[in-house]
């Protein structure tokens, strides 16, 4: 529990009753939650080590209400934390003691589906999976598929720029969103993008996606939907070690194949998953790859053959090709259940999310073993192998004093390692509070200030989701100041023509 949140503002806490009255005037009925016991379920998101009951919860139903809530809070200097389904693994939706928690769960409608132009317009509280369910009867789906897709909201996906096992081929949220309606902290409603590609002007939509609820509240999302591939097939390959599995991944890509999904699990993760779902994973291997291809049957057959050949070439010890849909789903069942499976072998686990250049995998795994010994905590690895996105699951027991802190230290060491080898702190879960204080490992002061200046363009009073993403809160006036460097002679030595 090493991450501190900004101290609550006493002035805000003192006027809580007035804030409640104002919110109730905007969102009538059940939409404002104020009782201590009713606030408890809202006290954390998917990063459950951190808990903080919100000052109050507001559950608006219309964009007008969202706008009015934000406008009022802006006028009164009250902070607001947006929340979708609360599955964030980085604490992005962690409430603040002196902030309104703005839950978007009532925005549940699919507003329009245009099959001809292949877009769907949905409200932000619609779950990721519900978008696919709304269009699958016509043979379409929404491609980004975070493992949390039955629960997480598309608004949360936009805020986190979420990925999934299929994003190597089909992209992250940002590559699949065409437009949003966004309410700024001062209550202004803007539309960025829409139903066509590449709108004119600065790509504000591009920076809103992945902004972790710091730039505005998303009240509508337009996504691209894709025709469902004719077939999908998967191959399950066992390797003696991660090194040979990694070499196989590199060769698959070098041979021009971008599989729909390419996942790796290490020995502890394989054993945990197999014990949990019994899908027949080989237990005598050091690393397991699941490679999925999709498209016309002719393509799948061809690529599965190629991948089996490449696997063989790299020393695979077992290779199983899915013979039917049930077997393909079984291959995935173990991987998709990896988190809860690890949850069964350890009282608690802490999920990390760094990305590394793939060639660094053997080195990173070796260092991780050393770190595991050093911190005295186990680790299981699942890995989006195609794009180098690593999910080490650190095993700990929160009831043992000091273990949570050690887990966090271990996690921080892993993320520093990721950056050291040329990678990043987070590939899909976001910075939130979890990696906030590590940002200087990856970015210099000027880099972070430039990002914060963009924040100031959207929310100059820093009222929206403060305490997240940025390790240091600079006031916008301070960030805007220019340090004037006067050159005496403007570059006499430069060639001019």
């Amino acid at each position: 529990m090493s991450i501190a949140m900004p101290a609550p503002d006493e002035g805000t806490l003192a006027k809580r009753d007035r804030i409640i009255a104002a919110m109730q005037a905007i969102v009538p009925g059940e939409g404002v939650i104020t009782q201590a016991d009713a606030l408890r379920p809202w006290e954390s998101d998917g990063l459950t080590a951190y808990r903080q009951p919100p000052m109050l919860v507001v559950l608006p139903e219309t964009v007008e209400q969202v706008s009015a809530v934000l406008r009022w809070c802006h006028g009164e200097g009250v902070k607001v934390v947006p929340r979708g389904s609360g599955t964030s693994l980085s604490g992005g939706a962690l409430p603040l003691a002196d902030a309104v928690l703005l839950g978007m769960g009532k925005f549940k409608r699919v507003l329009d589906v245009d099959y001809e132009d292949r877009v769907a317009v949905v409200q932000p509280g619609v779950t990721n999976l519900a978008i696919t369910q709304a269009v699958e009867a016509r043979g379409f789906y929404y491609a980004p598929d975070p493992s949390s897709q039955i629960a997480c909201s598309i608004g949360g996906n936009v805020a986190e720029n979420s990925g999934g096992v299929h994003c190597l081929k089909y992209g992250l949220t940002t590559n699949n969103v065409l437009g949003v309606e966004l309410v700024l902290m001062d209550g202004e409603v803007v539309r960025l993008g829409g139903r066509h590609l590449d709108p004119a002007g600065l790509d504000l939509l591009g920076v809103v996606v992945g902004s972790e609820g710091l730039l505005g509240v998303v009240t509508e999302v337009t996504v691209r939907i894709l025709p469902k591939p004719e077939t999908a097939r998967a191959v399950l390959v066992g390797f003696p070690d991660a090194e040979s599995a990694g070499a196989c991944v590199a060769q698959v890509i070098a041979e021009g194949i971008i599989p729909a999904g390419m996942e790796m699990m290490d020995r502890p993760a394989i054993h945990a998953a197999e014990a949990f779902v019994q899908v027949g994973y080989p237990l005598d291997v050091g690393a397991l790859l699941i490679v999925e291809v999709d498209g016309p049957a002719a393509e799948c057959d061809h690529l599965i053959g190629e991948i089996a050949r490449i696997a063989d070439h790299n020393g695979a010890t077992t290779t199983r090709v899915s013979q039917d849909e049930a077997e393909r789903m079984a291959f995935w069942a173990g991987r998709k259940a990896a988190f809860p499976a690890v949850g069964r072998i350890s009282p608690d686990y802490y999920c990390m999310d760094g990305t590394i250049p793939r060639r660094q995998l053997p080195h990173v795994l070796r260092r991780m073993e050393e770190l595991s010994a050093h911190h005295g905590l186990g680790v299981a690895n699942v890995f989006h192998a195609g794009d180098g996105n690593l999910h080490p699951l650190i095993l700990y027991d929160a009831n043992v004093p000091g273990e949570l802190d050690r887990a966090e230290e271990f996690g921080n060491d892993i993320l520093r390692l990721c950056v050291e080898v040329g990678g990043v702190l987070t590939g899909e879960h976001g910075v939130g509070i979890e990696k906030r204080d590590l940002m200087p490992v990856m970015f210099g002061e000027e880099d972070l200030k430039q990002q914060q200046r963009v924040k100031c363009a959207f929310d100059p009073d820093l009222l929206l989701n403060p305490g997240k993403v940025f390790p240091t809160l600079h006031r916008c006036a301070e960030l805007g100041r220019m340090h004037v460097h006067h050159g005496a002679l403007p570059f006499p030595e430069l060639p001019r023509f």
């Binding site: 590559n175 803007v190 790509d203 890509i253 794009d387 990856m442």
Partner: protein
């Protein structure tokens, strides 16, 4: 014209301009100099900031300096069987920096994304004269704001990129074009929508005014063969498809992708919901307008002899946006390059621009959006 030798020179130039209130125009190959209103600004040529910094085909990542010729990069990645998937295009002088800053994308954009989707990271000098990095050099990253998205398509209005990291992808082994002949715009659009909405994985779809419809099918040979066969069946109600050899297809795609062959002194590029493309074409055609449809109707190039009919207004009525891409200087002085945005969005955009360039070093009169930057408090 100033010609910085390296990023340090560039930083010094920009810092000095910021301090002294001078205006700078960043230039790569200068192939787009005739875009936007005439303006007075000192040109900063970035062609000396050239060369490949790092290329790791297995990691799908390429890091280059902005002045590197686009053609050089395309040859380099092609040598490894890879490609820039957004299918950039440009004249021989085009640089990668200018290509990304102009948000250039080809016909494949409809399925593979634009420059914005393939710019992973960058180093740049802001209008404050300060060096910053954003994004990263790996294909999957959500650490911090996605500033590369803002820089792609920013037309040199925010910062000068000194290094760009791009995602590269394997090039398809086989690329095939299927063509239909004699379709009306409406019938062509319907056929393209059907093809793009099918699981035959069509990577591009375009239609030329003289009645040629193009569908591109790319990938591994057995798959391409199967998908071409499937498409012929799928579209049998719409048209009959014939295989076009690539030598014949390439110039047709170039026409649809760039609109460069269109006759007329005034050229527009319209991005719109594809379903509204046929009606817009039907409105424009009687006015004597030449046109080409790309992205299954989502991009329409139009050209005409004069600034006559209000193409921008007609595009807006079709739910789209028209950008002025070709016109003489007086016309470009009168008609802004980009369509106006609603007041709230325009104001937000200005604030974001000032977050990078508070004194308006890059805010010349080229774009209406920046024309009044001088009146902003520094």
């Amino acid at each position: 014209m100033l010609a910085p030798r390296d990023a340090q020179d560039l930083r010094a130039i920009i810092a000095d301009a910021a301090a002294s209130g001078r205006k700078l125009e960043l230039r790569g190959g200068g192939t787009k100099a005739d875009f936007g209103a005439p303006r007075e600004a000192e040109i900063v040529s970035l062609t000396a900031l050239s060369g490949v910094v790092d290329y790791d085909p297995a990691e799908l990542v390429l890091t280059v300096r902005p002045g590197t010729p686009l053609a050089e990069i395309e040859a380099l990645v092609a040598g490894e069987g890879q490609m820039l998937a957004f299918e950039p295009w440009g004249d021989a002088a085009a640089t990668i920096g200018g290509t990304v800053a102009a948000g250039v994308a080809g016909s494949r954009r409809v399925t593979a994304g634009s420059a914005r989707d393939h710019l992973l990271g960058l180093t740049a000098v802001s209008g404050r004269g300060e060096v910053f990095v954003a994004g990263a050099k790996v294909v999957k990253n959500v650490t911090g704001y996605d500033l590369p998205k803002l820089l792609a398509g920013s037309w040199g209005r925010l910062a000068a990129m000194t290094e760009l990291t791009l995602k590269v992808l394997p090039a398809p082994r086989v690329t095939t074009t299927l063509a239909a002949h004699g379709l009306s715009p409406r019938a062509a659009h319907a056929a393209m929508a059907c093809a793009l909405g099918s699981n035959a994985d069509v990577s591009a779809a375009a239609h030329l005014k003289r009645g040629i419809t193009l569908l591109r099918v790319a990938g591994f040979a057995p798959s391409v063969e199967a998908r071409c066969a499937a498409l012929a069946g799928l579209l049998s109600d719409h048209c009959s498809l014939s295989l076009l050899d690539e030598a014949a297809a390439a110039p047709l795609w170039a026409e649809a992708m760039t609109g460069h062959k269109l006759a007329g002194a005034v050229g527009w590029r319209i991005h719109l919901p594809p379903r509204h493309a046929p009606a817009l074409v039907e409105t424009l055609e009687p006015l004597g307008i030449d046109w080409a449809m790309d992205w299954g109707g989502g991009r329409l190039w139009v050209a005409l002899d004069n600034a006559g009919p209000d193409v921008r207004m007609l595009a807006a009525q079709a739910g789209g946006e028209a950008t002025l891409v070709r016109a003489d200087a007086p016309t470009r002085g009168r008609i802004p390059a980009f369509p106006p945005r609603p007041a709230g969005v325009a104001a937000l955009e200005t604030r974001v621009a000032r977050a990078f360039d508070p004194t308006g070093v890059f805010a010349t009169t080229r774009f209406a959006e920046d024309a009044h930057a001088d009146q902003l408090s520094a």
